[in-house]
Assembly symmetry: C3
Homo-oligomer: 352 residues x 3
């Protein structure tokens, strides 16, 4: 029994190495077939050009998501530690699955966009992780990572290349998808006995400060997240500016509504740790469009408000009601609010 996890981890890594040996090449390996040209130098130029954006996203994935969920006293180290494990596996597997789908059977040439997209596919699993943390063993997490990223890549391929829908910050394909997938897995894993596990729900003072490390790095670098794979030039510029103002506006309404709905006007730290990020998710779908800064701010304001209200008042779906034991009430509420809102904003975004 105790050898299952290490053997699975080693087996998966061996499989990754074999698949990389078969399918993955350097971007510069293309040169062998074609004469050196300016288009090749552009590839490597773009690499160093986008590398700072890639590192911003990388910080979000490993520090941001990792620390965001440390607010639970008992799961602090698990949250950061398992986050690293999942993300490290996920980026290898994401590189492969997305690469195979996009390259139409040819070799995968690793460029900076592959690396950013691999981080994106990892984000999906980390969002689902929020809904299943504490209910699922590390072994099950490895399996969930493999399955979810495969489904995500297929779904994303469908949305982007078949439906031709625009979703530059990947709010639909990453955030909504990740949230619903996590809830579905939580439902499947439901065991009534877990309902009594409320003791781990407590958060303590320092846990909240650790969680703020996660929140702040996610908040700061979200403009990089929404713009990293946008078309260079005006579109990338607009994705940065729109996300920046949407996030700023979102903070004000998140604080205001947190104070409104809480007992005696106090702020709830969990709202602040989560709802302040809703502006980044909400504007994601249409971030690169010419929507004007004030519209981004309206989107962000509404997102902050809806996220706090959803978190506070949304009833858990009957089918999941029992399954969300312990701290999941908190967590999955939040993501559900995000994802629900998301689908609304998506329509709003495309309507504009």
């Amino acid at each position: 029994m105790r050898f299952k996890f290490p053997l699975m981890a080693i087996g998966l890594e061996v499989a990754m190495i074999i698949l990389f040996g078969l399918f993955v090449q350097y971007e510069t390996d293309q040169n062998i077939l074609q004469p050196p040209s300016s288009s090749n130098s552009t590839d490597v130029d773009r690499f160093i050009h986008l590398y700072p954006l890639f590192q911003d996203v990388h910080v979000m994935i490993f520090v941001g998501f990792g620390f965001l969920m440390t607010f639970l006293k008992k799961y602090g180290f698990s949250s950061v530690g398992i986050n690293l494990l999942i993300a490290a596996l996920g980026l290898q597997w994401g590189t492969l699955v997305q690469g195979i789908l996009h390259s139409h059977g040819q070799k995968i040439h690793i460029g900076i966009k592959n690396m950013i997209n691999a981080d994106f596919s990892t984000a999906t699993v980390l969002i689902s992780f929020g809904a299943v943390l504490g209910k699922i063993s590390p072994l099950q997490m490895l399996i969930m990572t493999i399955i979810e990223i495969a489904v995500f890549a297929g779904n994303e391929h469908l949305v982007a290349e078949i439906f031709m829908a625009t979703d530059i910050g990947a709010s639909m394909t990453i955030h909504a998808f990740g949230a619903y997938f996590g809830l579905a897995v939580a439902g499947v894993l439901y065991r009534p006995g877990l309902r009594r596990g409320h003791v781990n729900e407590e958060s303590v003072y320092h846990s909240d400060l650790f969680a703020m490390i996660g929140t702040l790095f996610l908040w700061i670098f979200w403009p990089s997240f929404n713009s990293a794979i946008a078309e260079a030039g005006n579109k990338q510029y607009r994705a940065m500016v729109n996300t920046y103002f949407s996030l700023a506006a979102c903070v004000l309404t998140a604080y205001a509504f947190s104070s409104l709905v809480e007992h005696r006007g106090k702020l709830d730290m969990v709202h602040i740790q989560n709802a302040t990020l809703a502006g980044g998710v909400a504007v994601g779908t249409c971030a690169d469009m010419e929507i004007h800064p004030y519209v981004s701010m309206i989107i962000g304001s509404v997102a902050g408000m809806v996220s706090v209200l959803g978190f506070k008042f949304l009833t858990v779906y009957p089918s999941h009601a029992g399954s969300c034991s312990g701290f999941f009430h908190r967590n999955s509420h939040c993501w559900r609010a995000d994802s629900r809102f998301n689908s609304k904003v998506t329509y709003l975004g495309t309507a504009i």
Copy 2:
């Protein structure tokens, strides 16, 4: 009473959205009136070029200042949480006020320099926040943010465009201004009853480690702060190099003098958290000039020394003596030392 804060926050955000709708446009909207030219592509090029520097400053504002003041046991979460609220409001308002002053009544075109300057105007409020933390309600903080940034932008406009003074790292306009403004507000808000509030002054072990997160990110990215809006090329290069060496030299003297003035040669963590940053402030005014690296190091060394000594021995001004109850003794001492020193260094800088 309890609805005052949320209503004010929502009201301010609505006002921001209306003002942005009236005054703010994308940088690229200029194209509509003029034929596409190389100068336009340069704007967007400069955006992606300076974006990593902007993100460094952004980390300083939200993680650096946010965690710097967590060393107080009771105010840890308030420090990080209110810091985020103020900064999010401040950057929207700063964009507007600075934009209106600089654009002389025309539309504001959001470029990377506007975003960096908005973060700068926010820094002013966060420095003042250090002198009033614990004495002021979130509602009062919102009002202070609006007033202080308006005064700051006017003052900065005066210094930079009317007096034509050089202050590339904005040591005078941001740091000295922010420190004095905060002390003035603290004086106005003085209530004798607060003097007994010493219990919250205690810092605990982990609080000090959280505060070091703030210190380190401020220390690391200060070269970006002092160079972000410098003229591209040699001036920007010198601003980075001078700040880098000034900060390094400052650490040595801050540690040395902390050990000298403390009981039995122990280091005082509060000195280390604050005086190690004095080198960045002190060199700010003249960072882009050809002062030579060794002069930067002299400036940094003196700044580290003066900051520790001022912190330890400077008597609080009689008019503020009573007002700085509880932990403010610590904090405002420090910033006062900085700001005093600052005005001296300013003369030194311009003399060179």
Copy 3:
């Protein structure tokens, strides 16, 4: 007695300032002697181009190494605080010593590569610091910093310019050198009385989360570390990609073997904090070569495995056995594993 440390620190800073005054100039000061040309503008262009990579390395040095060793309850603040002191001194001294060796007696012109190399020389001392933390006074640390960086710079000059060995990520010259130097100093400082000092070995829950901040920032930015001074273009691109995949693969095997060797399959946090980084060290020597991504992943996988096994089973060398009192058992084991492995990988790397 108590004045020794401050006087030494001030004396060293004064010496640095004098040496900088004599030897160090801006990169742009070269222009005075030669007419302005395109090569000059390239220097400053390269500065801003590599500045984000420099800042990544800077975060690794001050936040990464600083927090990595906070896992020990009692040494948390010392670890972060002394790390800052050593690094601030080290980067000034490293700039001088490396500059003098590379410039062959001419003036040192500070460019971005000097600043990156100064951070590298600092890394050596911080690695040794891990083996002597708690056994050595701040005063002794200052002396060790001066001596070690001088020896490092001589050694690095020998390896790179006389032997012409390739070591792009400096795994040999920094990591192996730093580890052995630290162990040697620990051996020299050995006093039998220290053996009873096991009480400080305890780590507590929050210490482990602080240490994860260090681990994650080191892990995230290691591709920047290995590529920062690589030749621009394909070599730099490959250094980033190879390090990225080596690190990802390393995480999987580190977790797997940690679970295998520990009691009842639990993960050991100390393994995760350290062995997950072995992939970055191991691939360092050959990171810029055309080794193919799957070979990087093999190197990383083996490094993660060897690091955990070495940490668990390697007997301490007899000569050091007694010297590693208290928590050093943990720490020096780890680095020894790394450094041992390193020398093996070095052969592997050059064989390829």
